[in-house]
């Protein structure tokens, strides 16, 4: 032990670093610092079609992302996703759920999202930017091969035009195949 302490003192002398006296006050966590950095990197990604809102501005680990696609089948909709990030981020991926009941092949009626980087392909080197771009892409190119809403995926595969009509119906709060959807047309 004495050896380690003398090594540390030596290292200290070499580096001539400033004192970092211990404190009992809570310290900014690694997860918070990483999210803070990730949020700063969103500038340029969000653009006109996406925005974030923070119900508690002091808590940057929980926020809502709104996507308003300006092209594609979901154009005109306003889709809300709840982001919940835990203290084990970026080892753990953020938990992302759609807060509305929508008709989408990759999002189920509970709001679960099938996006590979949110689960099986998540890596700590990925960031919030990657997740947000991935979500945006789901609205531009819904994907019938990774279905969470089987009926919607089947519609997309077998009858693209019918699927488009169903999207419009569902977005204005109508029912598709006896399932009532939430109105998501932007105000």
């Amino acid at each position: 032990m004495l050896k380690i302490w003398s090594m540390k003192q030596q290292q200290q002398k070499d580096a001539n670093a400033e004192s970092a006296a211990g404190t009992k006050k809570k310290k900014v966590t690694a997860a918070q610092l990483r999210v803070q950095k990730d949020l700063a990197e969103l500038e340029g990604t969000l653009g006109k079609t996406m925005k974030t809102s923070f119900p508690d501005p002091n808590d940057i680990l929980n926020f809502i992302l709104t996507i308003e696609p300006d092209e594609g089948m979901y154009k005109g909709g306003s889709f809300h996703f709840n982001f919940a990030i835990n203290q084990n981020f970026p080892h753990d991926p953020p938990k992302v759920k759609c807060t509305q009941k929508i008709y989408h092949p990759n999002i189920d009626l509970e709001g679960n999202v099938c996006l590979n980087i949110l689960r099986e392909d998540w890596k700590p080197v990925l960031n919030l930017n990657a997740v947000i771009v991935g979500l945006q892409f789901l609205f531009l190119e819904p994907n019938a091969s990774d279905p969470l809403n089987k009926e919607a995926a089947e519609d997309l595969r077998s009858n693209r035009e019918g699927f488009k009509r169903n999207v419009r119906t569902s977005m204005s709060g109508g029912a598709v195949k006896n399932e009532q959807y939430e109105r998501v047309i932007g105000r």
Binding site: I4, A20, K27, Q36
Partner: protein, 427 residues
């Protein structure tokens, strides 16, 4: 030499073989090292903390006690489950339901005379820096990355350059099936757990759409019950993986789904395993890794031989392979890459004035800084919504926003690393 203390016979005879290493120098011992009484005394008075009293923890406690450590503390928040008994050899059937820390401590104390083991049945987060400060070193046998990151950040944060004893070596063991690792972390002096975060195996996950549409394995049905069915039917209950009623509910849902897809093999214990993410534990791998950790603890406490620098991986999957290498400190490590520096500020200064002053500081010409404390977002440049919400803080005095001595984290798009300052109010 034999002495009687409290009626217990204290003799070095028991430690005869250990003393070969402590009473005379060996070919690899440091030339400046002094063998003998002082070294033995240093081992016996070293108060060490073991985190975790599970598979690795049982081995670690036993090994430390048999290596001559006399003052050992142990923390674990878990209670003993019947499935632990095959490898967590300090526990018996009658102990099921009792605290792991308390049972393990009582067993080792009884078995190894003269050792004092102090248990704490709770979470590591329940304890503060004052608690961790009393130990010479910390030996971890944990199964969670989150807990490792927490203790690592705490120990890095405790390092006080004015007080060398504030540096607590952290010895971390981990196993998964036939694979394992041990590492020696000297907080702030070498690569820390956060530096090595990307090296951890990610949790194996199955695509959500597979779970939802075409399950192929019993585990898929259990994950479906866990992630999808629970949300659908019991949204308002918080899933407690230790509650038998909750596990039974998931088991029945998973079983029904497995039957629907003709998948055999869903059992109650498998449900428990998948939901709690239980990794198959092999007693012998735990023994190997714990042995390595405890030898390092022994070498560090006595300085008798050089210790591990700084990572040993063991793989028994395909024959045996082991490799020792030195992981390097990450310059942009959010925990040890940039330690909090003390910064004396006028508490009457506004946040805006403080930010302006940061732009003038030579070491960090921060142009667009975002600042926060553990509790508060002080000012965020981006996203726009957060900027608007935090902008009113710019006019506030520092004393209204932070406490004297509180740490703030600053990030800036121009820098990959975050800066940390401990704000000291000038009087």
């Amino acid at each position: 030499m034999e002495t009687m203390v409290n009626g217990i016979e204290h003799s070095r005879e028991r430690w005869r073989y250990l003393d070969y290493f402590l009473n005379k120098p060996g070919p690899t011992s440091d030339p400046e090292w002094l063998p003998g009484e002082q070294t033995i005394n240093s081992l016996e008075t070293s108060k060490v903390l073991v985190i975790g009293a599970g598979g690795l923890g049982c081995e670690i406690l036993k090994n430390l006690a048999l290596s001559g450590f006399k003052d050992i503390h142990v923390i674990d928040m878990d209670t003993i489950d019947v499935s632990n008994l095959n490898r967590q050899f300090l526990f018996r059937e009658a102990d099921v339901g009792k605290s792991k820390a308390e049972c393990a401590a009582a067993f080792v104390e009884k078995r190894v005379k003269g050792v004092k083991i102090t248990p704490f049945n709770g979470k590591i987060q329940d304890k503060d820096e004052d608690y961790y400060m009393q130990f010479k070193m910390i030996i971890c046998g944990l199964d969670s990355i989150e807990a490792r990151r927490w203790i690592n950040a705490t120990l890095v944060g405790m390092v006080d350059t004015e007080n060398p004893e504030s540096l607590k070596p952290l010895i971390d063991g981990g196993t998964e099936g036939f694979k394992g690792q041990s590492r020696v972390i000297l907080p702030t002096m070498n690569s820390c757990i956060e530096c090595q975060l990307d090296m951890h195996t990610p949790r194996a996950a199955v695509p959500l759409c597979t779970l939802a549409t075409i399950p192929r394995q019993p585990a898929h049905c259990i994950e479906w019950a866990h992630i999808i069915a629970w949300e659908e039917h019991r949204k308002d209950d918080i899933l407690d993986t230790d509650d038998p009623e909750h596990i039974t509910w998931l088991y029945q849902k998973a079983l029904a789904r497995a039957q629907e897809f003709n998948i055999p093999g869903v059992t109650y214990s498998m449900t428990q395993g998948v939901v709690k993410n239980i990794i198959p534990a092999i007693a012998s791998t735990n023994a190997i890794i714990a042995a390595s950790c405890c030898n390092e603890a022994f070498k560090i406490a006595t300085s008798c031989n050089p210790w591990l620098q700084n990572y040993m991986m063991y793989s028994g999957d395909d024959g045996v392979y082991t490799y020792t290498f030195e992981t390097e400190q990450k310059e942009d490590c959010p925990v040890c890459g940039n330690l909090a520096k003390s910064l004396t500020v006028n508490p009457n200064m506004t946040l805006q004035e403080f930010i302006d002053s940061l732009g003038e500081r030579a070491e960090a010409q921060l142009m667009k800084p975002t600042l926060r404390t553990e509790e508060k977002s002080l000012y965020s440049q981006f996203p726009a919504s957060l900027r608007e919400q935090t902008a009113p803080n710019l006019e506030k005095r520092l004393s209204e926003l932070v406490e004297n001595g509180e740490e703030i984290g600053i990030s800036d798009p121009a820098f990959a690393i975050a800066f940390k300052y401990k704000l000291i109010f000038s009087s």
